[in-house]
C-alpha cells in the first residue's frame, strides 16, 4: 500500500471528497477511519419536509381522483377544463416538491456527512437498485425510497436490503409489478369472463435476477424469469384505481386475487408456498446465491478500486459475502482490506455527482446557500435519481469522460470560482484536499495563477481533482 496517498484515497475514493482538516484527522490510520464509520446506527435521513412514501402517494391519488370527478361531472365546460388543468398541475407540483426536498436533503447530507464512506455506500446501493424519475410515477418517491428502503439496511444483511427494496412502492411502480396478474389467478379468470385481459408483467422479475441479484451470466433462463414473475404476482401497493382501490394508498400490499396459484420452480429450486411467502423465499435464496456474491463483489470492486476490477479483489470480497451470509459490514471490511484499493491513487474518474459533492465539501459550501443546487447535476448530465434505466448510472470512466462532459465540468468549475474564488486561500487549500496526491504541476499552476478565482478554477479542474 502506498502509505503516502492513503489519507487522500480514504477521503476521496472511499469518501465523498476531503473537507479541510480531514486528511490530518485520518492521519496514519485510513482503514481505521473507514471502519469506524461502519459502527453505530444506520445513516437515516429525516426532517419535517421529508415525507413518507405513503403520504406522497395518498395525496397524489386524492388529487387524481379530484381530476377524474371534474372530468366526469362536467365534461365540456371550460371551467371544468381549467379545474382539470389546475388539479393536474397540483399532482405534478406535489410530486416535484417531494423530489426537490428529498434531493436537497440528500445532497446536504453528502456535502456535510462525517461518515462519508457510509454515505457513498448509500448512493452505491440506491444506484444498484435504481429507480428513475423519468417515469413520472416515481418522481415523488425516489427520495423516500432511498430513505425507507436503502438507508435503514446498508449496515444489515443483503437479504433484508433486497426485501425492503422489492416491496417498496417506488420499485413496484418503477418496474410495473403493481398490476401483474397470474394467468390462472382469480382476478385474471374474472377478467377473462368479461372479455378483458389481465396477466403477467415480467419486468420486475427479470431485473431482480439480472440486475439486483444473480447477474446476467448466472445461467437462468426465460422459463426462470416467467416463473419468478408468477411468484411475484400480487406484490402490489394499496389504494390504486378501480379494482385496485383496496388497501392503504402507497403501502405494500399482497393482493391474493392477482397471485398465480400453485408451486413454481425458479433457478433450480421449487417453491410450494401459496402466498407472499413464496416471493420472500425466492428472494432469500437469490440473496444467498453464489452468483449474487460475485455479481455484487464485482460492482463494489469496480466502484471502489478500478473500472476493470482486479479478479483477486473480487474473489476476496465475494468470499466475505458468502461466508458472512451477506452481512454487509463484513463485506465492506473485506473491501477496505483489499490492497488493490490503496495502490493506485486517482484511478477512478469522478461521476458528476462525485465531482459536485467533492466541490461542496472541499469549499465547505452549504447546499442551502446554493441558488439552484439541482441544476449542476442537470448541466453535467447526471440528474438526481434519473439514470434512465433500471441498470442505474454506469460506473466506468469512459461513461463520464467525454469531450463535452469535460468541457461542461470545466465551465462549471469556473462559474463556481468566479463567484467565491476571492474568498479562499487556494494555495493552502489544495494540499488540504489532495494531500500527497497534489502534483507539482498543479501546485505550480495554482501558484502562478493571475487571480484567486483563476487559482480555484485551476484547482477544481486539475487532473487529480477530476478523479478519486
Amino acid at each position: 500500500m502506498s502509505i503516502d496517498c492513503a489519507a487522500p484515497i480514504a477521503a476521496n475514493r472511499f469518501g465523498l471528497g476531503a473537507v479541510p482538516g480531514q486528511l490530518a484527522q485520518i492521519g496514519a490510520d485510513p482503514r481505521g477511519w473507514l471502519s469506524s464509520q461502519l459502527r453505530g446506527p444506520p445513516p437515516l435521513l429525516g426532517g419535517a419536509q421529508l415525507r413518507p412514501t405513503a403520504d406522497v402517494l395518498r395525496d397524489a391519488a386524492a388529487a387524481r381522483k379530484q381530476l377524474q370527478a371534474l372530468r366526469r361531472n362536467s365534461p365540456d365546460s371550460t371551467t371544468s377544463a381549467a379545474g382539470a388543468v389546475g388539479s393536474l398541475m397540483r399532482v405534478g407540483a406535489l410530486l416535484r416538491q417531494s423530489y426537490v426536498a428529498d434531493v436537497t436533503a440528500r445532497l446536504q447530507s453528502g456535502a456535510s456527512s462525517e461518515r462519508p464512506f457510509l454515505e457513498r455506500l448509500v448512493y452505491f446501493w440506491s444506484n444498484h437498485f435504481a429507480v428513475s424519475v423519468d417515469k413520472l410515477a416515481v418522481l415523488g418517491v425516489a427520495g423516500s425510497f432511498e430513505r425507507e428502503a436503502i438507508r435503514p439496511h446498508v449496515l444489515g444483511h443483503f437479504s433484508e436490503l433486497l426485501l425492503a427494496v422489492e416491496q417498496h412502492p417506488a420499485m413496484l411502480l418503477y418496474l410495473d409489478n403493481q398490476r401483474s396478474a397470474g394467468p390462472n389467478s382469480p382476478a385474471a379468470q374474472r377478467a377473462a369472463n368479461h372479455d378483458r385481459t389481465l396477466g403477467l408483467n415480467e419486468n420486475l422479475a427479470r431485473e431482480i435476477m439480472e440486475l439486483h441479484t444473480l447477474g446476467v451470466d448466472a445461467g437462468y433462463t426465460q422459463a426462470d424469469v416467467s416463473s419468478f414473475a408468477k411468484v411475484l404476482t400480487g406484490w402490489s401497493l394499496g389504494g390504486g384505481e378501480g379494482p385496485l382501490s383496496r388497501g392503504n394508498a402507497g403501502e405494500f400490499l399482497f393482493r391474493a386475487p392477482l397471485h398465480e396459484p400453485g408451486a413454481q420452480s425458479v433457478f433450480h429450486q421449487r417453491y410450494e408456498q401459496s402466498d407472499e411467502a413464496q416471493g420472500r423465499a425466492v428472494l432469500i435464496d437469490l440473496a444467498q446465491a453464489r452468483s449474487t456474491a460475485r455479481h455484487l463483489a464485482t460492482k463494489l470492486a469496480r466502484h471502489f478500486i478500478a473500472d476493470e476490477p482486479p479478479p483477486a479483489a473480487v474473489e476476496h470480497i465475494a468470499q466475505a459475502f458468502e461466508h458472512s451470509g451477506g452481512h454487509l459490514p463484513t463485506v465492506y471490511q473485506a473491501l477496505i482490506q483489499c490492497d488493490e484499493a490503496w495502490s493506485a491513487p486517482f484511478s477512478k474518474f469522478k461521476t458528476p455527482q462525485d465531482y459536485v459533492l467533492s466541490t461542496y465539501r472541499g469549499l465547505q459550501l452549504a447546499v442551502a446557500d446554493t441558488p439552484h443546487p439541482l441544476a449542476a447535476f442537470e448541466v453535467l448530465g447526471q440528474r438526481q435519481f434519473a439514470p434512465g434505466s433500471p441498470a442505474g448510472w454506469p460506473d466506468r470512466g469512459d461513461d463520464w469522460n467525454g469531450a463535452s462532459a469535460l468541457m461542461k465540468r470545466i465551465e462549471l468549475a469556473d462559474a463556481v470560482a468566479q463567484k467565491i474564488g476571492g474568498t479562499r486561500e487556494i494555495a493552502a487549500l489544495a494540499p488540504q484536499l489532495l494531500g500527497n496526491g497534489l502534483s507539482d504541476a498543479t501546485r505550480q499552476s495554482i501558484a502562478r495563477a493571475a487571480s484567486p478565482p483563476q487559482a480555484l478554477t485551476l484547482l477544481l479542474t486539475a487532473p487529480e481533482f477530476m478523479r478519486r
Binding site: D134, L175, D176, R179, S180, A181, P183, A188, T197, L198, G199, L200, N201, E202, N203, R206, E210, L211, V216, Q222, V225, V379, L380, G381, G388, S389, A391, G397, D398, D399, W400, N401, G402, A403, S404, A405, L406, M407, K408, I410, E411, L412, D414, A415, Q418, A441, T442, S445, A449, A450, Q454, T457, L458, T461, A462, P463, M466
Partner: protein
C-alpha cells in the same frame, strides 16, 4: 471579465495552443468529392423498441388477435396506420417518415435482429454497439472501427465521428478520433484560464485529448451557427409551434430539436464529421404502451419531428445522407397482462435519407402464427442487422469488405453485406 477577453476558441485552435489541436487542423486540407461527402447517422433506440407498433403488420392474420387493444388498424380506419405497401403500415405518430417513404427516402426493415438471443437490455445494447456476437466481446464499437478502416480519401487527420450528448457511447468508442457534443448553458471561460488548463493537461493523455476534441467540435458548432442555417431554423420553429402535439412538457423536446438542428448544421459542412450517433431512450414499454394513441406513439412523434428537423437543417447534404434507426431487440408478439409488451427478439429497423433507395419494405416476413414465432413468443428475425450495417458502410462510406468482415464485424461471415440499400 470584458467581452474581448472571453475565449475565442477558434483563435486558440488556430494558434495551436490547445494540446493536440495541431493534429486536428489537418481536417481542413481534406478535399470533398464533387458529389458531396457521405454522411451516416446512427440513431440508437435504447429500451427494446416495439417494432410491431412502429411498423404494424395490420394485414397479418394473427396481428390483431395478438395485439388486442394495442393493435393498430389498417390505413383509412379511425386511428389507422399510415399506409406503406398494403400489408405493413407506419405508426400514426410517424407522419414525416411516411412522407419520406412516398418520396422513396425510407426503407423499412420489419424483422431484423442482432445476433443476440437473450433478453437483457444491457447485454443486448452491448451487442448492438460492439458489433460482435456476444456481450462484452469488445471494448470498442463497430462504428469506430469502421471509421478507423475508412479509405484514405475519407480518412482525415482529425475527428470523423461525433456523438450527440456529453459522452461517447460504446458504438463510437475506439481508436479513431471522435468527440461528443451537446449544447452548454454555462458561460465560456476566458482564454487565459483555458490556456492554463490546457497546459496543465499536457501531461495527462486522456484529458488533453478530450479537451482538444471539445475545442474542435465547438468550432464546428460556432461555424455552423454562423452559416446559413438560421433561415431554415426560424421556419421550423414556427411549424413546430403550430403542431401542438400530445407532449405535456414541450421544453424538453424543443431543446432536443434545437440540438439536432445544430448537429445537422455541422454534419452538413463539407469538413464536418462523417458519422454521428444520436442516442434515444425510453422505448421500454412494459405498461400502458398505447397503440394508435398513447405513450409510445407520442414518443415516436417527437422522434419523427427530430428527423424532419435533421433533413431540413442538412439542406443539400441530405442527398448524401443515410440514417439508420435500430434497437437492441424487439418485444413480445402478444401484449402482456398490463397493456404493454415484454422483452422479445426481432424488431424493425429503418433506413432514411436522400441516399437511400427507399419507398420499399424489405422483409422475408415470418408471420405471427404460433408455429412461426421465435420460442412461441417473439417475432422471428429473418434479417441480421449486421447485413444492413455492412451494406451501408460498404456502399455509402466505402469501407472494404475485408475490413467489414475482419475488423468491423468479427465473426459475421453468416451475415453478408446487403447490396442495393442505396441509390445507384
Amino acid at each position: 471579465m470584458t467581452a474581448d477577453t472571453r475565449i475565442n476558441r477558434r483563435s486558440l485552435l488556430q494558434l495551436g495552443l490547445a494540446a493536440g489541436a495541431a493534429a486536428l487542423t489537418t481536417r481542413y486540407s481534406f478535399a470533398a468529392p464533387a458529389a458531396g461527402p457521405a454522411r451516416f447517422v446512427f440513431v440508437i433506440m435504447r429500451g427494446a423498441l416495439d417494432g410491431l407498433s412502429v411498423v404494424p403488420p395490420y394485414a397479418d392474420p394473427d396481428y390483431a388477435r395478438l395485439r388486442g387493444e394495442l393493435a393498430i388498424a389498417a390505413p383509412g380506419a379511425t386511428d389507422g396506420a399510415l399506409p406503406l405497401n398494403g400489408f405493413f403500415g407506419l405508426n400514426p405518430g410517424l407522419s414525416f417518415l411516411q412522407q419520406a417513404y412516398t418520396q422513396r427516402e425510407l426503407l423499412v426493415l420489419p424483422s431484423v435482429a442482432t445476433p443476440y438471443r437473450e433478453r437483457s437490455h444491457f447485454d443486448g445494447q452491448d451487442v448492438l454497439e460492439n458489433g460482435g456476437t456476444a456481450p462484452h466481446a469488445s471494448q470498442s464499437g463497430w462504428l469506430n472501427r469502421a471509421l478507423a478502416a475508412l479509405p484514405p480519401p475519407l480518412k482525415r487527420g482529425g475527428q470523423s465521428g461525433v456523438a450527440l450528448g456529453q459522452n461517447v457511447p460504446l458504438v463510437l468508442r475506439g481508436r479513431a478520433e471522435v468527440a461528443s457534443w451537446s449544447p452548454s448553458v454555462l458561460p465560456d471561460l476566458d482564454e487565459d484560464t483555458l490556456q492554463r488548463i490546457a497546459d496543465r493537461y499536457a501531461s495527462d493523455e486522456l484529458l488533453s485529448k478530450r479537451l482538444a476534441e471539445a475545442l474542435s467540435t465547438d468550432q464546428w458548432v460556432a461555424e455552423a451557427q454562423a452559416g446559413s442555417v438560421p433561415a431554415a431554423m426560424s421556419s421550423t420553429d414556427a411549424s413546430m409551434q403550430d403542431s401542438g402535439g400530445a407532449q405535456s412538457n414541450r421544453s424538453t423536446p424543443q431543446r432536443y430539436l434545437q440540438t439536432v438542428r445544430t448537429a445537422a448544421g455541422f454534419l452538413a459542412r463539407d469538413d464536418g464529421p462523417a458519422v454521428a450517433v444520436f442516442d434515444t431512450t425510453g422505448w421500454d414499454t412494459h405498461f400502458n404502451e398505447g397503440g394508435a394513441r398513447g405513450q409510445l406513439r407520442n414518443r415516436l412523434a417527437v422522434l419523427d419531428q427530430s428527423l424532419a428537423v435533421l433533413k431540413e437543417s442538412m439542406g443539400s447534404a441530405w442527398a448524401h445522407t443515410v440514417v439508420l434507426l435500430a434497437t437492441e431487440f424487439g418485444r413480445t408478439a402478444a401484449i402482456n397482462g398490463t397493456r404493454g409488451t415484454d422483452h422479445g427478439t426481432a424488431s424493425s429497423a429503418l433506413l432514411l435519407g436522400g441516399a437511400v433507395a427507399g419507398g420499399r419494405v424489405l422483409t422475408d416476413w415470418p408471420g405471427l402464427s404460433a408455429r412461426t414465432l421465435y420460442q412461441q413468443r417473439d417475432l422471428k428475425p429473418t434479417l441480421d442487422l449486421r447485413s444492413v450495417m455492412k451494406g451501408v458502410l460498404h456502399d455509402h462510406l466505402q469501407v472494404s469488405q475485408r475490413a467489414l468482415n475482419e475488423e468491423v464485424f468479427p465473426d459475421s461471415g453468416a451475415a453478408s453485406a446487403l447490396s442495393g440499400l442505396l441509390r445507384a
